[in-house]
């Protein structure tokens, strides 16, 4: 499959200039990151604040200069950037709008600088995006007077008005209410279905689940990537079985199960937890418990993103799990 983004060995350091006592400390924001996004993917970079997501996007766009080689849509960045720049839509993390222009003027400006020269074509594109993001009634309003949510929508519209092939959105849903957030993600998925490659960043776990591929970032490293299902499976004994029992002391049952099935068991009062990965294991486990006590309730849980993230975070630094 064709690669929309191919970044190899990206290292970016900040600071380090100055001499003697004025020397600024070096901060390594990205540490030898290999990062690939396939064409047509909906990729989400997930990581806590300061993990290097924005720096990575800026490096990929050629806004920051670091070590390593970057290709966007098959072209070298920053050398051949001019060839594909029109096909890229970038939404910075901050709202980044001219506060003294009207909504329509803002979109006209961004449509024009991204090469929509034909007036009719341009106006149509603006109409469409105004419709989709429900900004039509506010089109003559000055940006300064818009609410925060409307500014976010306009910021998004400004990045997408020229219908880019590759969309880079840096924390698109910061400061957006839950309802609008859903609209945003629906819209991203819709664009993705139409063929656009989307790269988003977020630090909110639930949001990332809406993307196909998730990349975990931590301390300037890409620590894991893949679809949610893939990531889950990579955790050994990732499923959890919780059985509520009638007897208080479950320790003897626990040691029995761990002996018989070779699984990790956490016994507690009126409750027993077993970690497993294969569903076929369930029956023998339950059989063992049933022999000892009466089962009151059975709960099986799959790990959520948080568990996955914590799992990968605890792994040794430097080893990238694929």
């Amino acid at each position: 499959m064709e690669l929309a983004i191919e970044a190899i060995g990206i290292t970016k350091k900040f600071g380090g200039h100055g001499k003697g006592p004025f020397k600024k400390p070096i901060v390594e924001a990205l540490k030898n990151v290999d990062f690939k996004v396939k064409s047509g993917e909906n990729y989400c970079l997930l990581g806590p604040n300061g993990s290097g997501k924005t720096t990575l996007i800026r490096c990929v766009l050629g806004l920051l200069e670091g070590e390593g080689s970057i290709k966007l849509l098959g072209y070298d960045i920053p050398k051949q950037r001019n060839k594909i720049i029109q096909k890229i839509g970038y939404m910075p993390q901050e709202t980044s709008l001219y506060s003294d222009l009207s909504v329509k003027e803002t979109l006209q400006f961004f449509a024009r600088i991204f090469g929509l020269k034909n007036r009719e074509h341009r106006n149509k594109a603006i109409e469409t995006i105004l419709d989709v993001l429900k900004l039509k009634e506010w089109q003559n309003m000055i940006v300064e007077n818009l609410s925060g949510g409307m500014k976010r929508r306009l910021s998004l519209a400004s990045s997408l008005v020229h219908e880019p092939e590759l969309i880079l959105l840096d924390e698109p849903t910061v400061g957006v209410d839950p309802k609008l957030r859903l609209t945003f993600w629906d819209y991203f998925n819709e664009l993705n279905k139409k063929g656009a490659t989307i790269l988003t960043t977020t630090h909110v776990m639930d949001e990332a689940e809406k993307s196909h591929i998730i990349g975990f970032m931590r301390d300037g490293r890409l620590i894991a990537e893949g679809s949610i299902d893939e990531l889950k499976k990579r955790i050994p004994k990732y499923r959890k079985l919780t059985v509520k029992t009638t007897i208080e002391n479950t320790e003897s049952i626990g040691s029995l199960i761990s002996k018989e099935c070779d699984l990790e068991v956490v016994p507690s009062q009126f409750k027993i937890e077993v970690f497993y990965d294969d569903n076929s294991m369930l029956e023998p486990i339950l059989e063992l418990i049933k022999n000892e006590t009466k089962i009151q309730e059975i709960i099986t849980t799959e790990p959520n993103l948080e568990d996955i993230f914590i799992h990968f975070s605890n792994k040794k630094e430097g080893s990238i799990d694929k």
Binding site: L63, L64, S96, D100, L101, I113
Partner: protein, 502 residues
């Protein structure tokens, strides 16, 4: 480089300006205010000169001294204080309470009418030499006027006592003066040489000897030389026979301050050379001023002199400032990040800015021209051709200012840092480029620095075009320097406006 992209940036800037009505209002009003201040502060005449008259003349009911002092008092600038003690008068001049004191001796009228020798003492404070010259000449005119009605009154003399000699203010180090000495002399030798010797020793004037009057006149008209001193063939002869000193001076009226300095130096050297032997009333300097459309008898008004330079300065100042702030705002609000990730090239961004800012600058230039014309009646060349050329120079200045603005805005991270650049750039540009006074009034060590300030050339070219009726063809060097500067600054701006965030 696409016109469409350039116009996109321009249109966005114009849309932003359109929103900010107060900014538009201020950008038109501020130049008017600045010009009005320039015009009022520097363009005014001398007023309220305090003069003391000591009139001890008490012989006849109708005193000639009173008549003379009455004529002096006709001048609206003169404020009289009358006292009878000469010592008080002298002290007053000494302490600067009064700029001058006229002392008539007690038997003035009688002696005058009887043909006896008599003497008026005139104490003049030379702290402001121009003012001193003004008072002396006023006094001379006054007594000549009065004495015309009396016959035989040739036996009196005026003793001038200069007080507080010293030359304050921006006096030039060198002023180019052309000299036509046709004086063929007399058996005693050329008396003109005595004047020249004093002028030469003074060192302020750089005397260039020439016999080609026509060529010299064109040089003065073009502003390359400030004045021509013409001694007639009969200079020495007339002095010796008629006791008259006849001297002709042709000056560049477009440089009023230099004219004043030349005239006061000339008068003082005449006084120094001949006041012992010759009556000062016989000093006859014929002044002729070029480049003043109103009159050949005086230099242009100060406001006319300032107008071309104010044009350049205001346009430079405002575009420089607005550009720095506009670019800083683009970066701080993050829109620069968006523009830099768009297909726009850096050249297109800068050209777009130049276009929108030059529209603003032309509005400002027009409001300056209208203010100086309508309120102060400045007499610059109001022909279409010279105005077009003036606007083209303004354009070059705007481009240069934009380049510096962009360059410096990349060096500053906050508005506070931007603020520090204003005095750093604006003050030297204002003081060293000849806005207020000609470059030659600067101290020796500063003159070479002003050669490195592009605004110097803009002011020069602007004055040549608007005051001396010259055209682009006459100021090629200034144009080349301005153009080079503009191109260099834009290149610097483009380099600094790298397609990267730092």
């Amino acid at each position: 480089m696409k016109l469409f992209n350039i116009w996109t940036i321009t249109k966005k800037n114009l849309n932003q300006m359109k929103r900010d009505v107060r900014m538009i209002g201020l950008s038109i009003f501020a130049p008017i205010l600045v010009t009005a201040l320039f015009g009022s502060v520097f363009g005014g005449d001398i007023t309220n000169i305090k003069v003391i008259v000591i009139n001890n003349d008490n012989n006849f009911e109708d005193n000639i001294s009173t008549q003379i002092s009455d004529v002096v008092a006709l001048d609206p600038k003169i404020q009289y204080n009358i006292t009878f003690d000469p010592n008080i008068a002298r002290v007053a001049v000494n302490n600067n309470y009064s700029q001058a004191a006229i002392i008539f001796p007690s038997l003035f009228t009688e002696n005058l009418l009887l043909g006896k020798e008599t003497q008026i003492e005139l104490y003049v404070s030379y702290e402001n030499p121009d003012l001193a010259e003004y008072i002396i000449s006023l006094f001379q005119i006054s007594y000549t006027q009065v004495l015309e009605t009396y016959t035989g009154g040739s036996n009196f003399s005026v003793l001038i006592f200069p007080v507080h000699e010293g030359i304050p203010g921006p006096l030039p180090e060198f002023i180019n003066v052309s000299l036509c000495n046709n004086d063929i002399g007399w058996t005693k030798g050329k008396l003109s040489d005595e004047i020249l010797k004093i002028l030469d020793e003074n060192g302020k004037l750089k005397l260039i000897f020439s016999n080609d009057l026509n060529h010299s006149e064109t040089l003065v008209e073009k502003g390359e030389i400030r004045a021509i001193l013409i001694f007639s063939e009969n200079f020495t002869y007339e002095m010796l026979t008629k006791k008259e000193i006849n001297l002709q001076v042709k000056l560049d009226g477009a440089e009023p301050q230099s004219c004043l300095v030349i005239m006061s130096l000339l008068t003082s050297s005449l006084v120094e050379a001949f006041s012992d032997e010759f009556d000062k009333s016989m000093f006859n300097i014929n002044e002729y001023y070029f480049n003043n459309p109103d009159s050949t008898e005086k230099p242009i008004k100060s406001i006319t002199y300032f107008t071309p330079a104010i044009l350049c300065f205001i346009v430079f100042f405002f575009s420089f400032l607005l550009t720095m702030l506009a670019f800083l705002r683009e970066r701080n609000q993050g829109t620069m990040e968006r523009i830099l990730t768009s297909p726009l090239t850096r050249g297109e961004i800068i050209l777009g800015y130049i276009l929108s800012h030059s529209i603003l600058s032309i509005v400002q230039a027009t409001s300056v021209i209208l203010t100086t014309f309508l309120i102060f009646g400045a007499q610059i060349e109001y022909t279409v051709l010279s105005l077009i050329q003036a606007y083209l120079i303004i354009y070059l200045v705007v481009i240069g200012a934009l380049g510096i603005g962009i360059f410096l805005s990349t060096l500053a991270k906050t508005e506070f840092q931007i603020l520090q650049f204003i005095p750093l750039v604006i003050i030297p540009f204002m003081l060293l480029s000849g806005v207020w006074a000609p470059i030659e009034t600067l101290p020796d060590w500063l003159q070479p620095i002003s050669q490195f300030i592009p605004l110097t050339y803009a002011n020069q070219a602007m004055r040549d075009i608007l005051l001396r009726k010259e055209s682009f063809l006459d100021v090629p060097i200034a144009l080349i320097i301005l153009l080079t500067f503009a191109v260099m600054m834009i290149a610097l701006g483009i380099i600094k406006l790298d397609k990267k965030l730092k």
